[in-house]
């Protein structure tokens, strides 16, 4: 778990990258282009065309064979914690949450679930004011400056991936210093809905999402369906071959929501997990100092 100081460094680095538009190595190198942020296409979000004018279609592959719910590191799931630290996610939201599902023959598997980035997204369909919308890249975002808090998107989401600020959300002071953007939903506002934003701004700047960075087992791959590549920060894979050869599936495929998050079946066997060893450590929110008048609640 990062200390407060470490946390600030993350922010500082992140803001620097945003300001300068400098990309890291990783994915952008593979994609061949790191395009600066800030090229806003109206209010429909940010679209960063590659040098060859192709639109990115960001996708995520989570290799469940490598996910042991962080049992081996003896901590709460690190993807969740990295996400919380990177986005100042208010307690009790877990934009990426590690669910423990039972296996058919006994024992369990861990399934980290970020927003599934449905292409036929039920949430954006029902929003009465267009506060939640899809960018041209296919990323589903929320404009908290427009959200009226009717929560019909939460009724519509079949993956339990939307979170409401029931009270004043607890966030560390740094969050309040940041400039608000739908792509980076800080500071959080009471009475509005939040969720995983797929870190598309970071991807555009050539960096992996916080969850993929945080995973000690490199189980989370992030990539571009347009280019057909993905990386977990350690290796770069041919996205389509990777999906097919490992029989990837999507959650609740039968609903026709067409998510952009794929799963490779498994129960952590690649990192030596015994499926009968159940349970994971509870997620903790790192900051102690929070917004004045903030409250926490249970989901």
């Amino acid at each position: 778990m990062a200390s407060m100081r470490g946390l600030r460094e993350v922010v500082a680095r992140r803001r620097f990258l945003k300001l300068t538009g400098l990309g890291g190595a990783g994915l952008a190198a593979a994609a061949g282009a790191a395009v600066p942020l800030g090229r806003l296409l109206g209010r429909s979000g940010t679209a960063r065309a590659a040098s060859d004018k192709r639109l990115r279609r960001w996708a995520m592959v989570i290799d469940l064979r490598k996910c042991d719910g962080c049992q081996s590191v003896g901590k709460a799931p690190q993807c969740t914690e990295a996400c919380i630290e990177g986005h100042y996610v208010p307690e009790p939201m877990q934009w990426i949450q590690v669910y423990e599902f039972p296996l058919e023959g006994g024992g369990t598997q861990f399934i980290p679930a970020p927003c599934q980035q449905c292409q036929n997204s039920p949430c954006t369909n029902v929003c009465p004011v267009g506060a939640t919308f899809q960018t041209p890249e296919g990323v589903v975002l929320i404009d908290q400056n427009r959200c009226i808090g009717c929560r019909i998107c939460m009724a519509a989401c079949p993956y339990d991936r939307r979170f409401f600020n029931w009270g004043t959300p607890p966030q560390p002071p740094e969050a309040w210093a940041m400039k608000y953007m739908p792509e980076h939903q800080t500071p959080a506002q009471r009475g509005t809905v939040m969720k995983c934003d797929f870190c598309a701004d970071m991807a555009g700047a050539g960096r992996l999402p916080y969850c993929a960075q945080g995973c000690p087992n490199h189980a989370i791959y992030y990539g571009d369906l347009e280019e057909g590549v993905a990386t977990n920060g350690k290796e770069v894979v041919d996205l389509f071959r990777f999906l097919s050869e490992n029989a990837a599936y999507r959650l609740k495929e039968e609903l026709g929501t067409k998510p952009r998050v794929f799963y490779i079946p498994g129960y952590g066997q690649s990192v030596g997990r015994d499926p009968r060893q159940t349970g994971r450590k509870a997620t903790v929110w790192p900051w102690k100092k929070v917004t004045k008048g903030a409250e926490t609640w249970t989901r």
Partner: protein, 476 residues
């Protein structure tokens, strides 16, 4: 002039003697000019309840929706289900004054006014709930600035506002001759502003044949127009649920089911209001056993329609037991929500049918008891739809319990106080019985005790007015 004389003679023949008419007008207009102390105490009580509700709502504005029992996994609760319930009540007016009028029934004419009031007031009160439920009520105008017609919530906004406009108009039209009556009849005992109001609202009504024809025509148009609007309102309200990907809401009968439920609860509401007002305003002569029994039969009939919808719903989904349905059924029928569910089935669906089935209980008291049961059961039914729908876990987690908080109960109570307050004030300003229609179409009814076993058949009348002839002749 001939037409006027003919009509007067026809009425005389039907028993509309000047003395009878005098009594009717006196009874109906009495509350408009005299007000008792009890009335003021009652208004005071309602204002206190309302003030408490407003205070709790202000508290909710200050702290956010955390003061409610809702959370992420049960993200709609008391407010939305009460919205569904109260808008459902509004269908009383449409059923009685439009649907039954289309079918040329006449027994309901003395209660249409009350039913139309219920419609308008229910829409005004019910329409507040989605706003109370908003996390950011300060941004409600975004619905206009950025409204997306693709969203079921916007359909609700359109439907409810259209319905409110239409039913206000439909309430006003038959009021015009009665306003004129008030203008002409109410003397110095009524406050000055009321007399001024009546003379303006009567819009120069003199009862000339031309005016009568215009009114008749306008009412006929509104009567037809308001029915599809009413049906659309509760259909799209059901669609805010049916458009989601949750197993218990995943239903094609939801629209029709909600409309049926709306009429069902609306009939119950009108029966209760009728019972209260006829006692308070001494209208026993005009609102008698006939009206109660007829509405009781409508209530029992609607209960059977609801049984049919519930069976269709539960048998088709229960047969297949798709994902989420086993949990839903268990939750509803055996565990968490079972007491409420079985109250709804036994008290709300079975009891009214039984009460109306036996001659011994088929009386005013029985009908009122049935209506009270139905009203409570239908609120519970809305509760079950919303809460049980949200309780089915979408991922691997423990289903969350839901209990409305004190704030939610207070706002709920406040809504009913507001409802009662508006009705109480209206009862002092508007004649609660459509005098001219009772005179025109009905004539005096024999005293109820004289013919206790009378069946629900409209009183045959000679056709008094040539221009409404078509409607009348077929009756006799």
């Amino acid at each position: 002039m001939d037409a006027v004389r003919e009509r007067a003679e026809a009425h005389e023949a039907a028993g509309v003697t000047p003395a009878w008419r005098e009594r009717l007008e006196g009874r109906v207009l009495a509350p408009l000019s005299r007000t008792s102390r009890v009335y003021y105490a009652w208004i005071g009580f309602l204002l206190v309840v309302l003030a408490w509700a407003v205070a709790t709502y202000v508290h909710q504005l200050q702290r956010g929706l955390i003061v409610t029992g809702m959370r992420d996994r049960i993200s709609w609760g008391m407010y939305i289900l009460t919205f569904v319930f109260v808008i459902g009540i509004s269908h009383a007016g449409t059923l009685l004054s439009a649907i039954l009028r289309v079918f040329k029934a006449r027994w309901q004419l003395s209660i249409t006014r009350m039913a139309e009031f219920i419609t308008v007031v229910a829409l005004m009160v019910g329409g507040l709930f989605p706003l109370i439920d908003l996390g950011r009520p300060d941004r409600v105008l975004n619905l206009i600035f950025y409204g997306r017609w693709q969203s079921p919530l916007l359909w609700d906004v359109f439907a409810v506002t259209t319905y409110l406009t239409g039913s206000t108009l439909y309430l006003y039209l038959p009021l015009v001759p009665d306003f004129a009556l008030c203008r002409d009849r109410l003397g110095k005992e009524a406050p000055r502003w009321k007399r001024w109001f009546f003379s303006v609202a009567a819009a120069g009504w003199r009862g000339t044949p031309r005016q009568r024809k215009a009114l008749e025509r306008a009412m006929n148009v509104m009567m037809i127009v308001i029915i599809p609007v009413a049906v659309s309102v509760h259909t799209v309200i059901s669609w805010i649920f049916a458009m989601t990907l949750r197993a218990p809401f995943n239903s094609t009968v939801f629209g029709a089911y909600f409309v049926a439920g709306a009429i069902f609860s609306g009939v119950a509401a009108i029966i209760l209001l009728m019972a209260v007002l006829r006692r308070l305003l001494h209208l026993e002569e005009y609102i008698s056993g006939t009206q109660f029994k007829s509405l009781g039969l409508v209530l029992a009939g609607m209960a059977l329609v609801m049984v049919y919808f519930n069976l269709s719903e539960y048998v088709t989904t229960g047969y297949k037991m798709e994902a989420g349905v086993p949990f839903h059924f268990h939750d509803l029928m055996v565990s968490y929500l079972a007491p409420l569910f079985w109250f709804y089935v036994l008290g709300g669906l079975l009891a009214p049918v039984l009460i109306m089935a036996f001659p011994k209980t088929r009386n005013v008291r029985g009908v009122v008891v049935a209506a009270a049961l139905v009203l409570v059961a239908m609120w519970i039914e809305r509760y079950l739809i919303v809460v049980s729908g949200f309780r089915v876990p979408l991922m691997e987690y423990q289903a969350r319990p839901y209990a409305p908080s004190l704030t939610e109960w207070s706002v709920f109570g406040g809504a009913f106080a507001l409802f009662a307050l508006i009705i109480s004030v209206f009862a002092k300003v508007f004649p609660m019985v459509s005098v001219w229609e009772v005179v025109e179409h009905r004539g005096p009814e024999p005293a109820p005790e004289a013919v206790p076993e009378r069946r629900v058949i409209p009183v045959p009348l000679p056709a008094p007015v040539p221009e409404t002839g078509a409607a009348e002749v077929s009756e006799s």
